[in-house]
């Protein structure tokens, strides 16, 4: 009994210790401009108004809207396109499907820094430079490989008999996919949502290059602008960091159990 209590205390302390840097950032966000560099941790007076100031200074409303819009739409499209492709690659095989599967997986190994200029030129030629659409197209593309991997792994664990039975019943493939397979795949969907959300919400380089108008900026780019120069208001930046990180954390907390289930069946079966 005591042993279990001690063990619980132990791992809780380790967890807390792990979070110390983040707690430090929170403490930074509550300091005044004078003490932002001199104080060690939390100061006696807590300046919660920094959050309001940060919101206004960084025009957080706009940044949030942009990030939410771009990330939301990209994630939806990633879900749709990758699940269809993954299903095809494992259950609706055709000549060349293995090849295309590996080809798309190859996309995982491309560092965005390597293709950012050609990608920019392509978007420019499509007339999409400085649009949210360009960023969404890029995000969907770069999010597909891991999403396809997860969905494919998950679909492989769905018993083939289920699909056969539906076929015998005369169900069209699309119907089978939509009404039988997808409802079963909520864990995989959760996993893909977390992965893609994480990747796109925090993405920086492509957003920097593909967007010109300040009004279109996403959160990472909008905030980077404030850090560059002298006199950066670090307490406001810290507050901004906390605000910017909340949405993804909330998404994770909401679907964390499904996320693990999705990993179990999805990413790990390869």
């Amino acid at each position: 009994m005591i042993k279990k209590a001690l063990q619980t205390l132990g791992i809780s302390l380790v967890g807390l210790g792990f979070l110390v840097p983040i707690i430090w950032v929170i403490s930074l966000s509550l300091r005044s401009k004078k003490t932002v560099f001199t104080a060690l941790f939390f100061t006696r007076d807590l300046h919660f108004e920094n959050y309001l100031t940060a919101w206004k200074t960084f025009h957080f409303g706009r940044l949030f809207l942009n990030s939410a819009f771009i990330t939301g739409v990209s994630v939806l499209f990633i879900l749709g396109i990758s699940s269809l492709a993954a299903y095809a690659f494992c259950r609706l095989k055709y000549r060349g499907s293995e090849f295309f599967f590996y080809l798309i997986l190859l996309g995982m190994m491309i560092p965005p820094a390597a293709v950012v200029i050609p990608l920019f030129l392509i978007m420019k030629n499509l007339g999409l430079y400085n649009t949210h659409l360009a960023l969404m197209l890029a995000y969907v593309t770069f999010g597909l490989p891991i999403a396809v991997l997860i969905f494919r792994g998950f679909f492989l664990s769905v018993p083939a008999e289920l699909i056969e039975a539906a076929r015998i019943d005369g169900s069209h493939e699309v119907n089978t996919f939509a009404s039988i397979i997808m409802p079963l795949s909520t864990p995989a969907i959760a996993t893909v949502v977390i992965f893609s959300f994480m990747q796109n919400w925090n993405e920086f380089l492509l957003a920097l290059v593909l967007l010109k108008d300040r009004l279109l900026y996403t959160l990472p780019v909008g905030m980077a602008n404030l850090v560059g120069q002298w006199d950066s208001p670090w307490q406001l930046i810290a507050a901004g960091v906390v605000i910017a990180s909340l949405p993804i954390f909330i998404v994770y907390l909401t679907i964390q159990d499904l996320y693990v289930k999705g990993l179990t069946a999805g990413a790990l079966k390869g």
Binding site: T8, G15, P21, R95, P118, I122, N202, S245
Partner: protein
């Protein structure tokens, strides 16, 4: 019927394939072609064909080879420690103790944050006069500040440390998910047979986890070869080019030196290394990816 499913399969996978062709294959081919030219990147008309000169130059580029070794060290160190710590963390969560839920979320939280934010955060904390040094000083462990990011010999390892801190949760959840898939009967049978804790882990758990280990290692390696944000923010490759990795060196060549052609060669090298690592791992583990 087979033809019909095949045709539908093709249609299902078409959007993904089109996206890939337009926004990954086309840029990669451009990058490949760019590696044979000299181009400042300002205007399309001042591209000059350069044959293999970019490739030849790469072989005598000391900083590139430093970036190469640094990247390999980065990949190796992060992969090993992330897997190790991730597995230990997963084992802890699996005990289902009262604090394990909090523990799981605490370790995983950094994974969700932007690497840029993580980099800025650690840079501030490890400043010569930042909180870590202040604590070390007041504990009388050091007299002069410890230069985590200012000392050429350790800057890279500091960044590796921050990366491990960020992504341990990522591997941890992968392993935790893997542990859920182990049939309990085997574990119980081994316990009844009197096997020790370690023995169970070695003989029962690990073999079942080998596909998990394989996938996790692959994901870590690919991520390691691509790494950019956190290194760029913490050291930008310095001091004195001591902590460059592939992607930061590529960035330097493309955007500071305006040598797009040369940068493209580096890009090709990154892609090749990732592919080789993936193929290598496939051969060793003999697993279908």
């Amino acid at each position: 019927m087979r033809l019909r499913t095949a045709r539908i399969g093709f249609l299902f996978s078409l959007p993904a394939i089109l996206f890939f062709l337009a926004f990954i294959l086309a840029p990669v081919v451009s990058t490949f072609l760019l590696s044979f030219v000299q181009w400042k990147g300002f205007t399309l008309s001042d591209m000059k064909p350069a044959g293999l000169s970019n490739f030849i130059e790469l072989f005598s580029d000391g900083v590139f080879f430093r970036a190469l070794t640094n990247t390999l060290i980065f990949v190796a160190a992060t992969t090993v420690f992330l897997n190790l710590l991730g597995f230990i963390g997963a084992a802890i969560i699996d005990t289902k103790l009262a604090g394990s839920g909090f523990f799981k979320n605490a370790i995983f939280l950094p994974v969700l944050l932007s690497p840029i934010i993580i980099g800025i955060m650690w840079s501030r904390m490890l400043d010569a006069f930042g909180i870590v040094n202040q604590l070390l000083k007041s504990a009388h462990l050091i007299k002069l500040p410890f230069l985590f990011l200012g000392d050429e010999r350790i800057a890279l390892y500091t960044v590796i440390g921050a990366t491990i801190w960020q992504y341990t949760g990522y591997d941890m959840l992968l392993y935790y998910a893997g542990l859920q898939g182990i049939p309990h009967e085997q574990v119980e049978a081994a316990t009844i047979d009197g096997a020790s804790r370690l023995g169970i882990i070695w003989n029962v758990v690990l073999p079942f986890l080998s596909p998990v280990i394989a996938v996790t290692m692959l994901l870590n390696m690919i991520g390691g070869f691509k790494v950019f944000d956190i290194v760029y923010v913490m050291t930008a490759g310095g001091p004195n080019n001591s902590s460059h990795v592939f992607a930061t060196y590529l960035f330097l060549q493309a955007f500071r030196f305006n040598r797009m052609g040369y940068a493209s060669v580096i890009a090709i090298v990154i892609i090749l290394f990732s592919i080789i690592a993936a193929v290598f791992r496939l051969r060793i583990v003999r697993q279908e990816v």
